[in-house]
């Protein structure tokens, strides 16, 4: 069996697995950050983390939905890259736009 604790099991971790794993990590991160945000909604680092994690988690989810709805799986690496790029651009745009 593949032992996930061994270095070799992670040696050939592929893009699709990273996309899946990072979306889950972002979800766990969101739970912690939302709790911190509810305690003090005005802390800028928490706001930044919340925005980054929401974008990251959501856009990777959009990628998964597009594949579920029939986009060919051969595009999944491109979709992962696009999700990351759109996330960075959207983060920069939101962060520059001071809405309060």
């Amino acid at each position: 069996m593949r032992r996930m604790g061994s270095a070799e099991a992670w040696r050939d971790t592929k893009v699709g697995m990273w996309a899946w794993l990072l979306q889950r990590v972002a979800a766990v991160g969101l739970v912690a950050v939302i709790a911190a945000h509810l305690k003090n909604p005005f802390a800028r680092p928490v706001q930044a983390a919340l925005l980054a994690l929401v974008l990251f988690h959501g856009l990777l989810g959009v990628r998964a939905i597009l594949l579920d709805f029939g986009l060919p799986v051969r595009w999944h690496r491109l979709l992962f890259l696009l999700a990351l790029l759109v996330g960075v651009v959207a983060f920069a745009a939101f962060w520059r736009w001071r809405w309060y």
């Binding site: 069996m1 593949r2 996930m4 070799e8 099991a9 040696r11 050939d12 592929k14 893009v15 699709g16 697995m17 996309a19 899946w20 998964a64 594949l67 579920d68 709805f69 029939g70 060919p72 799986v73 051969r74 999944h76």
Partner: protein, 238 residues
Amino acid sequence: MVLKVFRWSPGSRERLQKYWVKARHGMTVLDALVELQRNSDATLAFRYACRVGMCGSCAMVVNGRERWVCRTLLSNLARGPVTVRPLYQFPLIRDLVVDMAPMKNKMLEMKAVFVPGRRAMAGDGFAQIGSRSRERRAIDAAIECIGCGMCVSACTMVSHDPRFPGPAALNRVFTLQRDSRDGAHAGRSQAVLAEDVLTRCHGQANCTAVCPMEISPTDSILALRRRAVLRLLGIGPR
């Protein structure tokens, strides 16, 4: 060149044994293993047949990635020792040889066996589906599976959930569900709706990444899932 080869036999401990091989131009990992067996260690067990990238029986894990060792040139691997292990997810028989029976059993559990239906016969012979027909094109790539087991080895969900049938069995189910000559669509549709089947695939596409026949079992599973959803909504085919 140093080869670190996985060794195990019943009653002994798993270990990586180091061997030295003189790498020649055009030498594959299989060539190296054959040379080791002939000249250094006759007890080394591994499986191969055609040696020319046709049969798929020499599937192993080389430097962490599933590959057919007869197609893997030593010169194409990263510098440093080359690690050769048996496929993951399958029970070990000895050294690099694994028992492929679980994959066959999963196929049987999923009823991934052709059952002639009402449209199986045409005239005096077996009905044929034209190579240019829509039905054939939908499964064209997926029917090329030769059962080497690399997709199963690479699948993290098989590792996580032993009840998950795995990419090879579900790819086979997909081809049969789209075959109008098959008469067991309803039973198979029911089988894939079980808790640990279609919903268990997380679309990581490891299977697609390693398939030497360039099949995408992930696409097959997602197509089955869409079909199952439509069926549950009462608007899709059986």
